[in-house]
Symmetry: C2
Subunit: 559 residues, 2 copies
């Protein structure tokens, strides 16, 4: 028997998953909500952009979730032996940054900084560095356009350099006290393997490549001159960061004696280099060449791979292309939609009358029933899915939602259907952009609550995307991906082999219905016209046909 | 003392108003719901486009409402004497057509046709003649573009020739039995004055000019060749219709002995030529050069005048320009929005959650409260008011509604505000079009439920339109206008003189607030861009700035 443990560090909690590597059976899983702050997030009443975390929460979670999962495994399988755990893998959110001292100790854990939010973990959704992000984008556009091409054209306030520079600008004592900075996904493997010196910490190519402008093409991190042009202190810092980032099948080290004791797992057990949650989630969904892994949640993350042996140009508007960020030997390609489930939640909570039901769930269920037997285009409506801006392919937060085609008879469930369709058209736009640049996508594996719960949505997605849509069997694909990496880091298994055994699909596959596909293809042209007209500075033309075409389609489809 | 009676024949009921011509005091008013059909409308379960009426209902209503009003007047003023009623005026809906025999008898009143819907009154909202309307438009575009120029560019299924032609196409026996056709507003004065021969019936310039393509420029009704090109039977009918239509200050005749008996009013009392409700409503609102009368209801009707002595070109997209249709010696100019109150009703009934209140009224009141203290543009939203198409200035039913600018936080009352603003921008678009063509508009007099009940809406309208908005004191401006015409037809009073004494305004005038006007002017540019982009075949250009501008305005206005 052989097992691996995957650890998935989310925004509000972390969870473990203990997996049988021969069958994929999930023998134990424990969730630990971070105790600090509000739902694990330290906020500042004066600035809604602040989102920090307490690194101690991560360590507490490590012990609780791993020991708990082992206990569950022992209950499920009396002959379970923790010595058969061959590896541990970890995924986290990101860029989630920790300023550390020379011994690798988070500044937040030092008495002098324990009350200083800037010395704590800078959570991915901290948006205080928006000005620095804009300045980095502007500077890179001017002098290093190649840096931007890899990350979709715009550097984000959520990312590595924006946050570090913002810390430098607002809290010099913290910046000066930080010998180095580490991503959350790099810190935990370092902790588990007893790696104290920041210079020795194994750095994730997934994190570095997506967030820190790291690329082999230009020798790793951004060059010193560029950083100097932002602030000389950043150029100085560069030397105290890292030269090399590696893929997550790399063994960060063996479990330290101390942590072997805490967790009840043998010393020396392989600990894999970390990566981000969505990337490991894609691996746990069985991503491979030709398969797009899609996390359908409040927003989406769309990840696929393309062999590194095949040339791949930069794909305009795609958030990130990083060699090895998902699967070693493949470019990892990451895209996403800023809001999907969030749009439905907004709609149901703000604009759906109680005639659909007393609760949010009832309203969703009754709206789903009301649209289940409809035909594409029978509402006459068309929406744009930009209530939270557009991440891919427009990379523009200054966009907004739209609904068009309302009559005096339009009902809430029809608008709900239009919103579902809009998010599906948005998803198709991402796929089309990837395909235009030579990425092969044959099918889509979905995870997330919507994929599991909303069959009507899934069929609409299949009809619009025009490819078979599968749903991953595991509810914990991120942790499963982390476990797969733990196994690979041991050297005893390959990723492909574990994926084959552990990444199961649910029975129901959503296959496109040809007659629906045809109508949706027609409607996609209209969506794309609106998408480009409202979203692209390059577009110029006519849109007076849009309302009329939608009315014609509605008349035809209603018969 | 002198009095007049105004009779207002609406879609579902008719009402009388007995007015003191020295003070405008309303001494009596009775409503009579038409007893036939559903709410007075005869329908055909097989065809939702059918809307007919029973002419007997009109006669029954005449007796009930006039005698009732006189009784009320006697109660209110013991010395009231019906002999002091100097005139009777009548307005009706239109084109509401009655096929009559050689004695002027409606075919529906003949035993052989009493069960035939096609022999009944063809109510304005009967839409069975849509194909004929399209054919007339096409033919006129080809050979008589001048006919279309006066009625906004498109001939409607609601109008005179479409309906008569449709009757010819679907029910030849009725068409053949009809010696002539009369508008409802022409039939009632003929009845009251005992005018039996259709050829003697005084015809309203308001009805003929707006609906029957009648214009002095081309010698009255459309020429015989044109009608022949539609159907030779229409060309034959032309001779049995009329040569001349007149303004409503013309005396159709004196009250007949028979009807003097029925009503209790002296024989010979002046009966005015009829007109349509909105036009007489404008007169009752005090319309004159420089004043736009606006009926703010489920849809709107916007009417003003321009002196006939001043040249007035055709105004593209404006429904109708007819010399004398509103005030003698003035071009009557009619425009309108296809849906205003209807959009708010649709929204409150379909998309407003019960957290705003249990009833429609509560929801409206609470939404109004929620937006009352807001600033222009603070919602970030922009809507198009086309849920029922666009009557003026685009004259296009194949348009639809739109809401743009939604975030994940947009609330129902914010959308309500955007819908109010959109209807106000639509109203402004009509005014601007009129002004471009030299029509003077200094202020707006409003009537209708929204004008009376919704102060928040009225202030938004004032800020967007940028002119003082008054509200007529009378709730029955149509009947008041009819009474004014009744008085004028007596020859004892002029219209202006009665308007001066009887058309009072409510105390509250809505004056534009300068700082709001400025922001709304900026937003109107965006509305107009969307309006033209979606609504005009001539437009071509860029709209990628629209969402961004709305976000910028929102940020600025929220401060």
């Amino acid at each position: 028997m052989s097992y691996a443990i995957g650890l998935d560090y989310g925004t509000n909690s972390c969870r473990s998953l203990l997996v049988d590597l021969e069958t994929g059976e999930e023998l134990g899983s424990v969730v630990f909500p971070y105790p600090s702050g509000q739902l694990g997030i330290l906020t500042d009443p004066a600035d809604p952009n602040v989102a920090r975390q307490n690194p101690q929460d991560y360590l507490d979670g490590l012990v609780k979730t791993v020991t708990g999962a082992i206990e569950q495994a022992k209950e499920a399988r009396p002959d379970f032996d923790a010595a058969e755990i061959i590896g541990i893998g970890i995924d986290t959110t990101g860029s989630t940054l920790i300023p550390v001292d020379e011994r690798g100790m988070p500044l937040a854990m030092l008495p002098e900084f324990k009350d200083n939010l800037n010395a704590h973990v800078w959570l991915w959704k901290d948006h205080t560095a928006h000005q620095e992000a804009a300045d980095i984008t502007a500077k890179a556009e001017e002098t290093r356009p190649e840096y931007l091409a890899k990350c979709g054209g715009t550097y984000s306030s959520e990312w590595w350099w924006s946050k570090i520079w913002h810390c430098l600008n607002i809290d010099r004592p913290v910046f000066d006290a930080a010998h180095s900075w580490v991503e959350h996904c790099d810190w935990l493997p370092a902790v588990l393997t007893g790696t104290e010196q920041p210079g020795q910490v194994a750095r994730s190519i997934c994190a570095a490549g997506h967030k820190a402008m790291y690329c082999d093409e230009w020798g790793g991190l951004p060059d010193k001159n560029f950083l100097d042009s932002l602030d000389p202190a950043l150029a100085d810092l560069r030397e105290r960061l890292f030269d090399k980032a590696v893929t997550s099948d790399t063994k960060a080290g063996g479990l330290s004696a101390q942590w072997a004791g805490h967790l009840g797992i043998p010393e020396g057990t392989a600990v894999a280099v970390g990566a981000f949650d969505a990337h490991m989630g894609a691996v746990g969904s069985g991503v491979k060449e030709g398969t797009l892994a899609k996390i359908l949640g409040t927003s989406t993350c769309d990840i696929t791979v393309s062999p590194s042996s095949k040339e791949l140009a930069d794909i305009p508007g795609v958030c990130g292309i990083v060699d090895g960020s998902v699967l070693p030997g493949n470019y990892g390609i990451e895209a996403g939609q800023s809001a999907v489930g969030d749009i439905f939640l907004w709609f149901v909570n703000h604009l759906v009358p109680d005639s659909y039901g007393a609760t949010q769930d009832e309203k969703f269920i009754n709206m789903e029933k009301a649209i289940a037997d409809g035909k594409p285009g029978d509402t006459g409506l068309m929406a744009l899915d930009w209530n939270n801006g557009n991440r891919t392919i427009l990379t523009d937060v200054r966009l907004s939602g739209m609904v068009l085609g309302q009559t005096l008879h339009t009902q809430a469930h029809e608008i709900y259907k239009a919103l579902i369709e809009a998010t599906a058209f948005g998803a198709l736009t991402i796929i089309k952009r990837m395909e235009e640049y030579g990425v092969v996508i044959n099918d889509v594996v979905n995870t997330g609550g919507l994929a599991v719960k909303n069959a009507t949505l899934m069929q609409i997605y299949a009809d619009i995307i025009g490819k078979p849509l599968k749903v991953a069997a595991s509810d914990q694909t991120c942790a499963l991906g982390a476990a797969i990496y733990g196994a690979a880091a041991s050297g005893q298994k390959t990723i492909e082999e574990v994926q084959e055994k552990c990444c199961h699909m649910r029975e129901r596959v959503y296959t496109p219905i040809a007659e629906n596909q045809k109508v949706y293809a027609e409607m996609y042209e209209l969506y794309r016209t609106l998408h480009d007209a409202f979203g692209s500075t390059d577009w110029s033309g006519k849109i007076d046909h849009v309302m009329k075409d939608l009315i014609s389609i509605r008349e035809r489809q209603r018969g």
